[in-house]
């Protein structure tokens, strides 16, 4: 006798509703999914406005008559992409709201605040939450939640990217993104938000363009404004807005023409107990600070561009040139911008600059344990490793630590169970060591979970992937600019398992 396979989803133990549940469903009306139109009896449909307005569909279904049983006069479904934006601080207070269409009651945020309550950490709040009538898409950034309310099928990445753009804009305008700064500049923030989005279509998100429409505050200008009564709002159409290079404004003028590039690389890695690399990759970014007059056309080339596994460019970079010649050719935006980000994940290319010798033991009796950590340099290409910071998440039952550091200082936060050891510069001759005893809550059993250790570090004048800028050429302008390149390597998510 043969049998057919049965689908089982171990994560979603779906049970066919039993009689009791069905009865329950009929009473409460829960459980049925909403569709625009349901045939409830042969040739009898219940549908919504959308169905009723769609004549070809009606003809197809054979509908001859419609009875309107809708309540209210204005019950249509919004088509706006981002309906509203709420800014929420870590304690759950909404301190700014902006609606691009009708006003949505802030009670819609309750669903979000509920999820916020449930999450152990603000970072753990799920970015997409569905409520009966809306979707809430949020980001957590600079200790603030940017929460958008949407009603239609919108690409969530579109919304998330936009929210990050809002945060960057605030940072760019006011130097930092915090509740105080936003409250202090609330009207300007409001004007900016209006400028950035119209009916869900982003209008101007390039900082260069925005700054021509609404000038960023400076102490000088606010004094002048108070005296003369002039305003921060530009009254001319931004020049970059509609040209094919929307990121650059016209008529840029500098007395000192300079172009600086920072190649910043972050190592993401997981090392296992024995120090073997489980996974490692490099996230690189080329940050530019370009202050050049006129319309310069730049070409940046690398010694070893084949190293890069994947690249993403600022819109100004001509992709075709990169494809054919592996050079970056672009007319730069004015000021600071991210020229490109890249990715190196060929494991053999990722050098691991430090090693950690560690041992953590808990006594079988469960009263305490011992910790011993040593950090040393590994593949540093002859450079000094600085800014070394070790963070250990201790098991929940660790009450206090009594340690001795040969270099730097340590702190232990009993509330979060995080041990932070700030080492500073790594001296290969005298390796820093941290050792001592851990005490557990009385009566607590020997901890089961393995703590994990994160490392922060910095290496100046080195891109760990070996990437090197070859040269920078400028066309289109006559003057000679100052040029400079700086390299720096940092630890990204650099984790050692204990």
């Amino acid at each position: 006798m043969s049998h057919e396979a049965v689908r089982v989803d171990p994560d979603m133990e779906y049970l066919t509703p039993g009689v009791v549940d069905l009865e329950q469903m009929f009473w409460t009306g829960l459980g049925a999914t909403y569709t625009h139109c349901n045939q409830v009896w042969p040739n009898l449909y219940i549908g919504d406005k959308k169905t009723a307005l769609e004549k070809p569909g009606l003809v197809e279904m054979g509908v001859t008559h419609i009875i309107n049983a809708a309540e209210g006069t204005w019950n249509n479904v919004s088509t706006e992409m981002i309906h509203s934006l709420f800014l929420v601080n870590p304690s759950g207070d909404i301190f700014l709201e902006k609606h691009w269409k009708s006003v949505v009651s802030r009670s819609v945020c309750d669903y979000f605040l509920e999820a916020r309550e449930k999450a152990l950490d603000p970072e753990d709040v799920p970015p997409v939450i569905s409520t009966p009538h809306h979707y809430l898409i949020s980001i957590y950034r600079d200790k603030l939640f940017f929460l958008s309310v949407i009603q239609t099928e919108v690409p969530p990445l579109f919304v998330i990217e936009f929210l990050h753009r809002v945060a960057e804009m605030i940072q760019d305008y006011f130097g930092e993104c915090s509740e105080t700064v936003i409250k202090d500049n609330v009207v300007m923030v409001y004007e900016l938000l209006e400028e950035m989005l119209d009916n869900g279509f982003p209008l101007a998100t390039e900082s260069n363009v925005l700054k021509e429409m609404i000038r960023p505050p400076t102490i000088l200008r606010s004094v002048v404004n108070t005296l003369t009564g002039s305003s921060n709002v530009g009254d001319k159409l931004p020049t970059g807005q509609l040209s094919t290079i929307p990121w650059r404004r016209a008529g840029v003028k500098y007395t000192n023409n300079e172009a600086y590039f920072d190649v910043v690389e972050e190592i993401d890695a997981i090392l296992d107990r024995t120090g073997t690399t489980v996974f490692a990759e490099i996230q690189g970014v080329v940050e530019a600070c370009v202050k050049l007059s006129g319309m310069p056309d730049l070409t940046l080339s690398f010694m070893n561009p084949r190293l890069l596994d994947d690249v993403s460019f600022h819109p100004c970079v001509r992709y075709k040139r990169w494809e054919s010649e592996r050079v970056l050719s672009f007319i730069p935006p004015d000021g600071n911008f991210t020229l490109m980000t890249y990715h190196v994940n060929a494991q053999n290319l990722v050098a691991i600059p430090v090693y950690v010798k560690h041992s953590i033991n808990f006594f079988e009796s469960g009263s305490g344990g011992r910790l011993d950590l040593t950090v040393g340099p590994k593949q540093t290409m002859g450079k000094t490793v600085e800014g070394v910071l070790v963070t250990v998440h201790m098991p929940k039952t660790v009450l206090s630590v009594s340690l001795n550091a040969t270099q730097g200082s340590y702190t232990y936060d009993n509330a979060t169970k995080v041990l932070v050891w700030d080492i500073g510069k790594l001296n290969p001759q005298k390796l820093p060591n941290l050792r001592g005893s851990l005490s557990l809550q009385t009566g607590a059993p020997k901890p089961e979970e393995n703590p994990s250790l994160n490392i922060d570090l910095k290496i100046q004048q080195l891109a760990i992937s070996g990437l090197k800028v070859n040269r920078l050429d400028m066309f289109g302008e006559k003057y000679k600019p100052f040029k400079g390149v700086k390299y720096i390597t940092k630890a990204g998510k650099f984790q050692v398992r204990m």
Partner: protein, 957 residues
């Protein structure tokens, strides 16, 4: 000085104070007052009472003040429609302003004021702005059309704005093009059938050009729009892909994902042996990996989409397993998603690494994550057979940690492993039994009880163990109660002598002392079974259980295809079709991946391969329908009971509750249905699976004899009333023996009393016995699907021939086939799986209630555009019009009216297809002329050809 000063007004008479300031003569004071109003608005205070005062400030030369007032208006105009009219004049004036910034601002704000009355004033200014010399104004106006359409669609259509908007797609400025596309796609979304975005190679070319030039946001709109285009052939598809690929390197992740969507969709059309296909596959991996280094929120959305992509095309990321390794400080929602993808990518090549990681995760702090990691180990065991042993030993290690929730999860997954690999790992049962006492979660208890019941003969003290659970029977959850009931009955059947008392006890607990109907029903079934026929009981309860298949957690293929078309949207995040969303779904249209065109060969198309491949034993009816569907099915069953005399047949698991179980119906029920029922109740290791499948499987197999009986009744009736039977084409050989290792299949289709039957003749021309027949259809134009399993009850000996009749339903997945009535079939037996394709006469799909009212017929005939009409000649037919009409009627082609004009008979006929499509036809018969003319009109003109062929066959038969 900061804006925070705007918040500090005196509590008393705040509104009053503001009112006074707004009406002040001093410009500066006015502006400050408006700022205060705005500041209150941002914190959600209601300042709508100030509406007239704020509107009064509108006429000003100061741009900042004007902007602020406009901001206020947008917020409150809806609540004050009459007041909003006051602002109209200023708007109209501002639309004429020499400064384009002000013109744009005015038209933009006007569109945001969602007041019906204001819209008529908006039309003229909008028309001007759409043709404005300044592109900034034009692009703002384009968006405004979408806003206006949302308020008053009819008005926009009447005013011809849609055409203007379409013209803007050819605008010289790429920003204007992008906004026009965005506006059009938004309008098209709310009116799916309006065919607004008429995508053709020329307009696609324009869009692709604009793609390179416009801003990142515009690129997203254009890419989403491109994704809706259906390229004509693989060459066009490739050229679009080539032009979209550079977008993968964009810094904006939304652009990247939209580009991935377009590529994933159009790739479907490329032949797999094409070099470019391989290149494209390679190009897709790096950007997807890069998305994972972005902010966690972006990562989450990317991961949900990658989850779909690896299911559709696992080859893209098969070497990138490591990037999905979980980092300690990833947010939990990222961790859980990564874990899921790790399992999907797990293969024999990388399983060691994956297991090492999973074991690591199982010792982390976060409980949810640890649980999921333990489950993941179980899924690995089921997915990669070679790893099962290592998985089991890893799980045993974890059980040794004695961490409560780890142990419970481990037991739940071990149960699944037992079901996948029976008689292999039972040696671990002893270890499991040691942990019996620590289990406090229903799922783990149920799993443990299942294990004890299933392996009762190997566990010496099984009766004691089960008895210990019985003490608190009424405090257990339903899941555990049901499982306990089954387990004890199993135990009894295995060791009848010493457990009689126990089984009595549980049956009485379940039937007499319980309020739960599900539990009672199951109790009664067992009771009666045990008391009437213990041998049958053994066969039922201890029946061999269906294996759980490897790829059990995959998304159902048709849904997956639809979701791939929606990459980057909310649907892709929730893994639900857009139609399941409460609001804002894209109408009722379902997106499908395009079929491959070009050098296509029919029988070996990849789709058949995937359906019949994989586990090979899987058939459509056993797929658990999603909750919504299931509910729908149940309701349908209730609504349409078969109209026969005698007791209604039990059509679903649910209805059994309503039957008198102790009545005579039960015996026959058990007799007929022992196999599937036994399989499900006895083998309820995965209760979800077993019971989920019941409603889908049972009605099908019950319908078979039922349908036959009904058919007989109607045939009798037919003998009296109708002179002719429906047309049944003669059987033809579909699968020759030499192509199918000795199995020959010939067959035909028939429609009997409303039931479509596939009539098959199976002949064994090989030397060995054939068993285990199963059948499956590929998706086809009308959703034909087997309504039950292929009933070949006894093995087919060499040279034996058997006639089988398979009832079909029309509720299966739909895909347009070429020709329309083509059906691809996979038949499996113990030797192999064979594929063939056949064509069914479309008359099978003509339903019995296809006779249209005369009035409706006339109206519909007029309503269908003339280009949908096609004319055919039927030659050498020697019937008179009445005979023809009778003949056609027998095949559900109904004559509605007959007219005779100048010796020519005109028959007007209607047909209704099973999917609700109406076909109207006019047949002209000239006396004495053996050539008929038939005109066919239908809203779906592609069926006309088939209908004609079918009429011809019917008439000539």
């Amino acid at each position: 000085m900061t804006d925070s000063k705007y918040f500090t007004t005196t509590k008393k008479g705040e509104i009053f104070e503001l009112k006074a300031e707004l009406n002040s003569d001093k410009k500066e004071k006015k502006k400050e007052a408006v700022k205060k109003v705005i500041a209150s608005m941002t914190v959600g205070k209601d300042v709508s009472a100030l509406f007239p005062d704020v509107v009064n400030c509108m006429q000003t030369d100061n741009l900042e003040l004007k902007k602020l007032v406009y901001l206020y208006l947008m917020n409150y105009a809806k609540s004050q429609p009459d007041m909003a009219i006051m602002a109209v004049n200023t708007f109209v004036k501002d639309c004429e302003d020499p400064n384009p910034l002000i013109r744009a601002l005015a038209v933009r704000t006007m569109g945001c004021i969602r007041v019906d009355k204001i819209t008529e004033y908006l039309c003229e200014p909008l028309r001007k702005c759409l043709k404005d010399e300044d592109p900034y104004v034009r692009k703002t106006a384009a968006v405004c059309v979408a806003k206006l359409h949302d308020i008053n669609a009819q008005l926009v259509e009447d005013q011809g704005f849609l055409d203007t908007l379409k013209d803007l797609i050819s605008d010289s400025n790429p920003m204007v093009v992008a906004n026009a596309v965005a506006a059009l796609s938004e309008i098209a979304e709310s009116h799916p059938n309006s065919n607004l975005l008429d995508l053709n190679p020329q307009s696609i070319n324009k869009l692709l050009t604009a793609l390179n030039e416009c801003t990142e946001w515009g690129q997203i709109f254009i890419l989403d729009c491109l994704a809706n285009y259906a390229p004509r052939d693989d060459r066009e598809s490739q050229s679009i892909c080539e032009r979209v690929t550079p977008r993968l390197s964009h810094a904006n992740s939304a652009v990247v994902l939209s580009a991935v969507k377009v590529l994933m969709k159009f790739m479907e059309m490329l032949p797999k042996d094409l070099d470019y296909y391989g290149t494209l596959l390679k190009k897709l991996a790096p950007p997807l990996v890069t998305l994972l280094s972005a902010e966690p929120e972006l990562q989450y959305v990317a991961l949900r989409n990658i989850n779909l992509i690896v299911q559709k095309r696992p080859e893209i990321l098969k070497h990138e397993m490591k990037v999905f390794f979980v980092k300690y400080n990833d947010p939990i929602y990222v961790k859980l998603e990564k874990l899921d993808i790790m399992i999907r990518l797990a293969s024999q090549a990388n399983i060691a690494q994956v297991l090492a990681e999973l074991k690591e995760y199982a010792t982390e702090v976060d409980v949810d994550f640890v649980r999921k990691a333990v489950r993941a180990i179980g899924r690995c065991a089921i997915k990669v057979e070679q790893s099962a042993e290592r998985c089991v030993s890893t799980l045993l290690d974890l059980i040794q940690t004695k961490v409560n929730y780890v142990v419970q999860e481990a037991i739940v997954v071990i149960k699944d492993i037992f079901r996948k690999y029976p008689n292999k790992y039972e040696s671990v049962i002893a270890t499991l039994c040691e942990n019996l006492d620590s289990l406090d979660e229903p799922e783990a208890r149920a799993a443990m009880i299942w294990i004890v019941g299933e392996y009762a003969e190997r566990i010496d003290n099984a009766d004691e163990l089960l008895e210990s659970f019985l003490e608190g029977f009424h405090d257990e959850s339903t899941q555990v109660q049901l499982q306990l009931l089954t387990a004890i009955v199993k135990l009894f059947l295995k060791k009848p002598t010493e457990t009689q008392e126990l089984v009595q006890q549980v049956l009485s607990l379940a039937t007499q002392d319980s309020d739960n109907p599900d539990l009672r029903d199951r109790g009664y079934i067992y009771w009666r079974l045990l008391s009437t026929d213990p041998v049958a009981a053994k066969e039922v309860v201890l029946a061999e259980k269906p294996l759980i298949s490897e790829e059990t957690d995959l998304i159902e293929p048709t849904l997956l295809e639809e979701l791939i078309c929606h990459i980057g949207t909310l649907a892709s995040v929730y893994h639900k079709p857009p139609s399941a969303f409460v609001e804002g779904s894209r109408g009722v249209m379902h997106k499908r991946l395009p079929a491959r065109t070009g050098s296509g060969e029919s029988t070996e198309s990849p789709d058949v391969g995937t359906i019949a491949g994989g586990s090979g034993t899987e058939t459509a009816p056993s797929i658990i329908p999603s909750q919504g569907d299931l509910l729908g099915d149940l309701l349908n069953l209730d609504l349409a009971p078969p109209t026969t005399t005698g007791p209604p047949p039990p059509t679903s698991g649910m209805q059994m509750g309503g039957m008198d179980l102790l009545g005579g119906g039960l015996d026959s029920l058990m007799g007929d249905e022992s196999e599937p029922l036994g399989g499900d109740i006895g083998g309820s290791a995965a209760m979800g699976a077993g019971f989920g499948a019941v409603p889908a499987v049972m009605p099908a197999s019950l319908n078979a004899p039922m349908g036959g009986g009904l058919g007989d009744l109607f045939d009798l009736g037919g003998g009296v009333g109708m002179p002719l039977g429906a047309y049944i084409p003669p059987k033809t050989v579909w699968l020759p023996a030499m192509k199918a290792k000795g199995l020959e299949i010939s067959g035909t289709f028939a429609r009997r009393a409303g039931v479509i039957q596939m009539e098959l003749t199976l002949t064994n021309k090989a030397m060995s016995v054939m068993t285990d027949f199963a059948i499956q259809f590929n998706r086809n134009s009308f959703g034909l699907a087997p309504a039950g399993p292929l009933q070949v009850l006894s093995p087919l000996s060499p040279n034996q021939t058997i006639e089988v009749s398979l009832p079909l339903s029309t509720v299966g997945p739909v895909m347009k086939m070429e020709p329309l009535n083509n059906l691809q079939v996979a038949v499996k037996n113990n030797i192999d799986v064979f594929y063939f394709s056949c064509q069914y006469p479309i008359s099978m799909l003509f339903v019995e209630d296809g006779k249209m009212e005369r009035q409706v017929f006339l109206a519909t005939w007029k309503d269908i555009p003339n280009e949908n009409e096609s004319q055919f000649q039927i030659k050498d037919c020697h019937l008179n019009s009445d005979a023809a009409s009778n003949k056609l009627q027998a095949s559900n082609i109904f004559t509605i009216a007959k007219r005779t004009v100048e010796g020519q008979d005109m028959l007007y006929m209607s047909i209704k297809l099973s999917n609700g499509i109406w076909v109207l036809a006019e047949l002209r018969v000239q006396t004495g002329n053996p050539n008929y003319t038939i005109s066919v009109k239908c809203r779906a003109p592609e069926v006309s050809q088939c209908v004609f062929q079918c009429c011809e066959a019917v008439l000539k038969n």
